[in-house]
Amino acid sequence: MKRTNLKTNDLILQTVVKVVFFIIFIYSVYIFFAGHYTPGGGFVGGLMTSSAIVLLLLAYDVKTVAAVIPFNFLKIAATGLLLALGTGMASFFYKVPFLTHAHGPVHLPFFGEVELASATAFDLGVYLVVVGVTMTIIQTIGETE
């Protein structure tokens, strides 16, 4: 984009984004964990996390955001795939069909009795893939001259 000599001042935008980013991010985490019992899940959670990062990209520039969130998003997507596939393959060790999920109450030191499902790990994989792919697309298009 061609820059004029007149400096724009994004103070209000940048300050608001600093606050709003965390609200959106936490909401996306909430949506992610809500997926088992209420509407939500890995896909929409991942999209919302990437929209929070996109908001950062709008307020700042690509380089600043890359410095703040120093991940290679393509590798995040690959990690997500590995996690999802690994959840499926874990069933091999228990001699049950591929992608059989386990769930049940687990006693954790701080939280006490918690109902956990291995489907969450699969969903985390989906979440990472969605974040990784969305951000790769946006960053790649954004950086192309």
């Binding site: 393509l74 590798k75 690959a78 795939l81 596939l85 499926g88 069933s91 069909p97 591929f98 059989t100």
Partner: protein, 493 residues
């Protein structure tokens, strides 16, 4: 009884594809990982085929949910043989890529895309759920879009726009067709679909859906009025990619037509299979017309794919033991030999720097091995007895005669002659005659041995037909009698 062995040929390329994403800047490591995982996939598909042969159809109920509620992966003999051939083509394709694909493409996720393509093809062969079949179609199509456009030359960009447009359209039609089918039957599991349709009888609406499926899969598998996208698209990418496409992608469409027309829509054969026979015959005709019309090495091979698709589908349309067996033999033979022919076309183009037959000649003096490989592949493609193409075509024609389709069977016979003419044209003009100055890279180091593997295998299938005959017979039995498939999937709890 669930047997996770069925998943292995699918999971191994997936793991390989994911791992390769992490190492995109290390070409040597990429080659090692690709080769090791492809070899492992080949070994596991061999084990799978052996276990299907010994103890019948193997299934996995994904997630432990019994069919028809969950997704089932079903390895019958037909699917296992195709998975075995796929992993073999995948391995040779990767070996061929080492010398031909170039650093640029290797850096930009060529090998992961190949592995995802193989995973998609394997999944499409193994799945027992019609919507899951759609998902695997998309997996292999996405990977093929990447492979087609990778490199970014002008021609690749132009052809991939057409290819993607056609496939997006046919995928949308696939979803609509599945929606119709689900509205009518209320199930997506293939075995359960077959039961539901047998109970209610194939009404007119279901025959319409059957034809819609023929259009969808025909577009993927390049049958007569729907093959228009193929000659341009398959010509654009490098030879290694064309070989994977030519050997695997259209065959998935053919497999899907065979599956739905032998398992699900079997109650109005006079109409559906009659139409299929007509389309197969026209596909053969238009394929050979294209094959003899061109002077471009790759175009000739591409039009031969179309002819082969016609021959295979004619065997299916005959719907008797000889026809089905013939189409299985011919399908396996054609996957192997099309791989070899594309590799050879790639070698010729790499040496001469042109794909125009009129500008090359006399290659056999300096390149005897590729030359004779071309000769053997050519006669194998045409169906000369000691090689693999013979038994398939013989059985297809026998099936045609038994079904009383004399005219169509003669079309198949005549097509062999013209196919032989078209590939002999490549051999005679490319390898015989005066040596012409070559503009390309005179070294063929590392490019010939994948061809030798495939041609040797083709000869082995031809000579050892007795050895593979029981496997093919078992595959044909399942296709001819859907109750074997249905019992294995639904009754075995």
């Amino acid at each position: 009884m669930s047997n996770n062995l069925v998943m292995m040929p699918l999971i191994l390329p997936l793991i390989a594809g994911i791992l390769l994403i992490f190492f995109n800047r290390k070409p040597i490591l990429q080659r090692i990982i690709s080769t090791v995982f492809s070899l492992a996939a080949l070994i596991f598909s061999l084990i799978l085929t052996a276990s299907v042969y010994q103890s019948g159809i193997q299934i996995v109920e994904i997630g432990g949910w019994a069919p028809p509620y969950g997704i089932t992966f079903v390895a019958d003999m037909y699917a296992s043989l195709l998975v075995l051939t796929t992993s073999l083509i995948g391995l040779t394709g990767i070996l061929y890529s080492f010398r031909t694909i170039g650093r640029e493409r290797e850096y930009f996720f060529y090998y992961p895309a190949v592995q995802f393509l193989l995973a998609g093809v394997t999944g499409a062969f193994l799945t027992g759920d019609i919507f899951n079949l759609f998902v695997f179609f998309e997996v292999l199509l996405m990977a093929s879009y990447v492979l087609m456009v990778l490199g970014g030359t002008k021609r690749q960009l132009r052809e991939s726009i057409k290819y993607i447009a056609v496939n997006v359209f046919s995928s949308a039609l696939f979803v609509i067709t599945v929606a119709f089918l689900y509205a009518v039957t209320g199930t997506l599991n293939m075995a359960d679909l077959s039961v539901k349709i047998s109970e209610s009888g194939q009404t007119g609406l279901l025959t319409v859906i059957a034809i819609l499926f023929l259009i969808v899969f025909g577009m993927k598998g390049a049958i007569f009025p729907l093959y228009f996208w193929m000659p341009g698209s398959y010509n654009a990418p490098p030879a290694a990619v064309s070989a994977l496409f030519g050997a695997l992608l259209t065959k998935v469409g053919v497999y899907a037509i065979t599956r739905v027309y032998t398992l699900i829509f079997i109650h109005d054969q006079a109409f559906t299979h009659g139409l299929l026979a007509w389309l197969a015959a026209l596909t053969i005709l238009f394929g050979v017309i294209g094959a003899i019309a061109y002077w471009d090495v790759k175009k000739i091979v591409i039009y031969n794919i179309i002819t082969a698709v016609g021959v295979i589908l004619f065997g299916v349309a005959a719907a008797n033991p000889a026809g089905i067996e013939g189409s299985i033999y011919y399908l396996i033979h054609d996957m192997i030999i099309k791989g070899a022919l594309f590799f050879l076309a790639g070698i010729m183009i790499s040496i001469t720097g042109t794909s125009d037959l009129r500008k090359m000649g006399g290659l056999i003096h300096r390149y005897p091995v590729p030359g004779w490989m071309m000769f053997v592949s050519a006669i194998s493609l045409a169906g000369i007895p000691p090689l693999s193409g013979f038994i398939g075509k013989l059985k297809v024609i026998q099936g045609g005669f038994e079904a009383g389709e004399y005219a169509f069977a003669f079309v198949v016979l005549l097509s062999s002659l013209l196919v032989l003419y078209s590939v002999m044209k490549v051999f005679i003009h490319g390898f015989w005659g005066e040596e012409k100055p070559i503009q390309g890279n005179p070294s063929v180091k590392g490019m010939v041995y994948p061809v030798v593997i495939l041609v040797a295998l083709s000869a082995a299938i031809g000579l050892g037909t007795e050895f593979i005959a029981p496997f093919v017979t078992q595959a044909a039995e399942t296709l001819l009698d859907p109750s074997i498939y249905i019992d294995a999937v639904l009754k075995e709890q």
